[in-house]
């Protein structure tokens, strides 16, 4: 009983702390993986945000006030993400950008919801980031600028069936990851719906290195395509081991493959693989951003996080301007009603029903190891086209 009382006290305190803020400064939280497996994107995301916020502040800020980031490293870890979320709540931020990963975002969402602080994730594509899985109701304080996994999984399946002319598909995914588990399901559903057959569905545990047992089974069933919804590290190892076993199937991945080091890690084994991504360096819409980033940091941004994080910041700035206050509920209301907002990746309209963007495009890229680049293959604006 005493414990419950104590935690209630803490929660109330946290809730009140959420509404406090500094004089003349608008504090926006940023929960990001600066270390850990996702640090490449995290570092690039932080740079892109700093670049944009400087521009906004130089132009007079928002509501006549300067924006300041409160940034903590969540190490791409669920528990740490919740700790960071709690810290941001006590720090009294008005809104939060991040986390980038679905699992971390889903873990953080209830903390921000209790404190009534809007959270705009960057690249967390799982549907249950903005929808509460238990109640199926929209989470009032969760938003995002990126497409969602059912769309991504469907695009991958559609590409496999129509462009790769695949009929037999296999899936290799990480059972410890929300991202991988759900994407595997969406891909399978769409692949079967479009007339394909899933011959193998193999899983491994997070941190596992050897998938040859699973791949050996897949090899026996001779699929045309293997869908691997993992990050670049697992994709690279799976590709190497698949080729070592003499598997010739086309490898197909998701937006988490889209890291430049995929090419170095996977080497010749990953060459020719395809994956779905949120943006492409060759996308005409983001050229201005890419040039600006290269000029500032001397290297290319690690897409898609920097672009999506800028979109998230622009969403918050727009909502602050239209709400005219930093009250959490007013901000959330304004975020839910964003329409035709010019953002870094293009133009964005939020669907008030599920807080996802409407008609967010997806691109298919192909890994080109000899030229060390991802080739633009095709762009989908919706699954129906």
């Amino acid at each position: 009983m005493r414990k419950i009382f104590a935690s209630l006290c803490v929660m109330t305190l946290l809730a009140f702390a959420g509404s406090a803020s500094g004089e003349g400064i608008i504090r926006i939280g940023h929960t990001v993986s600066l270390t850990g497996g996702a640090s490449m994107w995290g570092q690039s995301e932080a740079r892109a945000l700093d670049m944009l916020v400087k521009k906004i502040n130089d132009a007079g800020g928002v509501l006549g006030r300067q924006i300041e980031f409160v940034r903590y490293d969540n190490r791409n870890d669920g528990v740490e993400s919740v700790n960071v979320a709690r810290r941001l709540v006590t720090d009294g931020v008005v809104a939060v950008i991040g986390p980038a990963q679905s699992g971390n975002a889903i873990a953080s969402a209830p903390v921000f919801e209790r404190a009534q602080i809007p959270m705009v994730v960057t690249t967390a594509t799982n549907p249950y980031v903005t929808i509460d899985q238990r109640t199926d109701a929209v989470r009032p304080f969760a938003f995002r600028p990126c497409f969602i996994d059912p769309f991504q999984g469907t695009v991958a399946a559609r590409f496999a069936i129509t462009d790769l002319e695949a009929r037999k598909g296999a899936v290799l995914y990480d059972v410890g990851s929300d991202y991988g588990q759900w994407l595997a399901r969406y891909f399978e559903e769409a692949f079967v719906a479009k007339g394909g057959e899933i011959v193998a569905r193999e899983a491994f545990r997070t941190e596992e290195l050897d998938y040859r047992a699973q791949l050996g089974k897949i090899k026996e069933l001779a699929p045309d395509v293997i869908f691997i919804p993992t990050s670049q590290k697992e994709a690279a190892m799976a590709a190497k081991q698949a080729r070592d076993l003499g598997i010739e199937a086309v490898l197909l991945g998701t937006d988490n493959w889209g890291s430049p080091d995929l090419i170095e890690l996977g080497g010749s084994a990953i060459d020719g693989g395809y994956f779905v991504n949120l943006t492409d360096l060759a996308d005409p819409d983001i050229q201005e951003f890419v040039e600006e980033y290269k000029a500032a940091f001397g290297e290319e941004p690690v897409l898609p996080n920097p672009v999506m994080a800028q979109d998230a910041l622009l969403m918050i700035v727009d909502a602050l301007t239209r709400a005219g206050s930093e009250d959490g509920e007013a901000l959330a209301e304004a975020l839910a009603n964003i329409s035709d907002l010019k953002v870094t990746s293009g133009v964005l309209t939020v669907d008030p029903a599920d807080h996802n963007p409407l008609d967010k495009p997806a691109v298919i890229q192909q890994v080109d190891v000899p030229n060390a680049t991802f080739k633009f293959v095709k762009k989908y604006v919706s699954v129906e086209d």
């Binding site: 270390t35 899983a203 047992a213 070592d244």
Partner: protein
């Protein structure tokens, strides 16, 4: 499918054996589980990586450099973290705790200095696949397997035939007596750690080539530890057999039962051995090990 599973299992098991040797060597002499071994393997992989990418050395030189590098790191590790405990005759539990501390320390050192990103070795073997009766095996796996067996056999000869080897065996059976007979114990233990570190270097390079190089790659050694327990901690043939058995069992479980059940099986095997046969397959408690 059966043969492919067996071949894959043996090639995974070969790497487990290589790592298990390091545990067994140290355990046989100092009677504690050196949980820093995984971190030494990781550092060995980084040494090999630096030689391969910065100096573009071939595989032979990379292996040699990594063996030397990891060997020296293991000796320094012993001098700094274990020797004072050992001289004060601390219980082996303290040594084990110190080893765990070292492991965390070394991992975080790498995080702080080199960073958390993943690295891959250059492709020494290309993507050449050897076909054995309809099953595929990469040239890398075949070479790694043969090299591991060869290295373990060489170590076996070294311990059986050389003067230092005899001293190590003497130390294994009775440390105090051994020092009374005029053996320099500090030197002897350094040699043991040098050997264990050398094997960590080989394991690190092969793990790095097979998978990737990153700060927590040493975690895979918990499997090697199970292998060492199955074979009998402190026994070299045991480490070899334990590694191969574990690799094969795991692969068969993944293939015929479920890949998600694999670790449930591995760790159940560990518990079963600890309960029913704590000395493992080849361990002879209290008698001659190594």
């Amino acid at each position: 499918m059966f043969l492919q599973t067996l071949i894959t299992g043996l090639s995974i098991g070969g790497i487990y054996s290589l790592m298990a040797v390091g545990y067994s060597l140290v355990f046989s002499v100092l009677n504690f589980s050196n949980f820093a071994h995984g971190a030494v393997i990781m550092l060995g992989a980084y040494v090999g990586l630096a030689l391969a990418t910065r100096f573009s050395l071939g595989l032979g030189l990379v292996l040699a450099g990594s063996v030397a590098g990891a060997g020296i790191i293991a000796v320094i590790n012993e001098r700094l973290a274990y020797s004072s405990l050992r001289r004060r005759k601390a219980p082996s539990l303290y040594l084990m705790i110190s080893a765990m501390g070292c492991s965390v320390f070394l991992e975080n050192m790498v995080y702080a200095t080199i960073g958390s990103r993943f690295y891959a070795f250059p492709e020494f073997f290309g993507r050449q696949v050897v076909n054995l009766w309809g099953s595929s095996l990469s040239l890398l796996d075949l070479s790694a397997f043969l090299f591991s067996i060869l290295a373990i056999w060489a170590l076996h000869l070294f311990i059986g035939r050389t003067k230092t080897g005899i001293a190590i065996r003497a130390g294994v059976s009775d440390m105090t007596m051994c020092s009374l007979m005029g053996v320099d114990l500090d030197r002897l233990i350094s040699v043991v750690f040098l050997l264990a570190g050398g094997f960590a270097g080989i394991a690190g390079v092969f793990l790095g080539i097979k998978y990737l190089v990153y700060p927590t790659m040493g975690w895979v050694t918990n499997k090697a530890y199970i292998a060492a327990v199955i074979g009998g901690l402190g026994s070299l043939p045991g480490a070899l057999a334990g590694g191969l058995i574990l690799g094969v069992v795991e692969t068969f479980v993944s293939t015929y039962v479920s890949s998600v059940m694999r670790d449930v099986f591995s760790f159940s095997l560990l518990i079963a051995f600890l309960v029913m046969r704590p000395d493992g397959l080849f361990g002879r408690s209290g008698e001659e090990k190594v």
